[in-house]
Symmetry: C2
Subunit: 124 residues, 2 copies
DNA sequence: CCTTGACTTGGACTAAGTCCAATGTAGGAT
DNA sequence: ATCCTACATTGGACTTAGTCCAAGTCAAGG
C-alpha cells in the first residue's frame, strides 16, 4: 500500500458520486500533487479487479467509478445532463432470463440502466 | 437518399450482427469504395435518430449498431470474447422500479445487459 | 444552364485510455 | 544500518474511436 494508492482509495471513499478517471485524478492531485494519470488508471484497475469499485459505462464517453460495490444496485441516468443515481429495483432480472434464452452462456451478472430525464432537466 | 446512405442501410440490413462503425465502414467500402468514414458516422447517427437502428454500448470500446430496433430486446455479452446475442427476458424491468426509486425522473427506457461466458469460451 | 442547398470528403483534431522504458521506493535479508 | 530486489510510479508517446470543419460535389428546380 503506497501513498498513491491510499490517495486514490480516499478519493473514491470520500465522494459518493460516480467520478470519471480524470476526475479521480484531479482530486488525487489535490492531495498528492505528483501523482500521475497512469498510476490512477492502474490503481482504479486494481480496485475493480478486487471488487472494491465498480466500473459504470453509461454513455460511451469516460468510464465512471462507483465505490458502492458492496450493495448490489443499478443505475438511473439522465439522458440530458448525464446525472446518475443508484437505484434498487425489486425483482431479479437474472431470474427473468429463461434457459432457452441463454444460448449456452454461463450467465453470471446483469446490469440494468434506466434512462430518463431528471427533475432539474425537466424544469429547464 | 444518396448512394452512400443506401449502402450504409444495406450493410446493416444484410448483417444480423452488431457491427462497430468501423466494421460498417469496411463493408460499405466494399460496395462503394469512395465512401468516407465521416459519412458513415453521419448516416449511422441519422438512422439512430430515426429509430431505425440502436446503439449498443457493451464494453466502452467502439459503439455497436443493432439493426433490430423494432422488436424490443436486451443483450447477452460474453465477457471473454465480446460476442453479443439478442435476448428476450420475461417481465418488464420498468415495472420493477417503484416510484420511490425514481427520484423525480421521467423514466422512459431501460437497457438490460446480461454478462457471462459463451459456450466457445467455456470450452477453450 | 445556373444557382442553391444539401451531402460528402479527407484531414486535422480531441478525448479517453494504454503502453513502455526509465526511475524511484518499500521492505526484507544480511 | 545497508543493500537488494521486486514492484510501483512516472511521463511521454501511442492508439482508438469519434467529432469537426472547410472545401468540393452533386442533384433538382427555375
Amino acid at each position: 500500500m503506497t501513498a498513491q494508492r491510499r490517495v486514490v482509495a480516499e478519493v473514491l471513499d470520500g465522494e459518493h458520486v460516480h467520478l470519471t478517471a480524470d476526475e479521480v485524478h484531479a482530486r488525487a492531485v489535490a492531495k498528492l500533487p505528483e501523482i500521475s494519470r497512469a498510476t490512477v488508471y492502474n490503481t482504479l484497475g486494481e480496485l475493480v479487479s478486487l471488487g472494491e469499485v465498480l466500473e459504470v459505462t453509461t454513455d460511451n464517453r469516460a468510464k465512471r467509478y462507483d465505490p458502492n460495490a458492496h450493495r448490489p444496485h443499478h443505475h438511473l441516468v439522465c439522458s440530458r445532463c448525464g446525472a446518475i443515481r443508484d437505484v434498487h429495483p425489486t425483482g431479479d432480472p437474472l431470474a427473468d432470463l429463461p434457459a432457452s434464452e441463454r444460448f449456452g452462456f454461463m450467465v453470471s451478472d446483469v446490469e440494468v440502466t434506466y434512462r430518463g430525464v431528471c427533475p432539474d432537466c425537466t424544469k429547464a
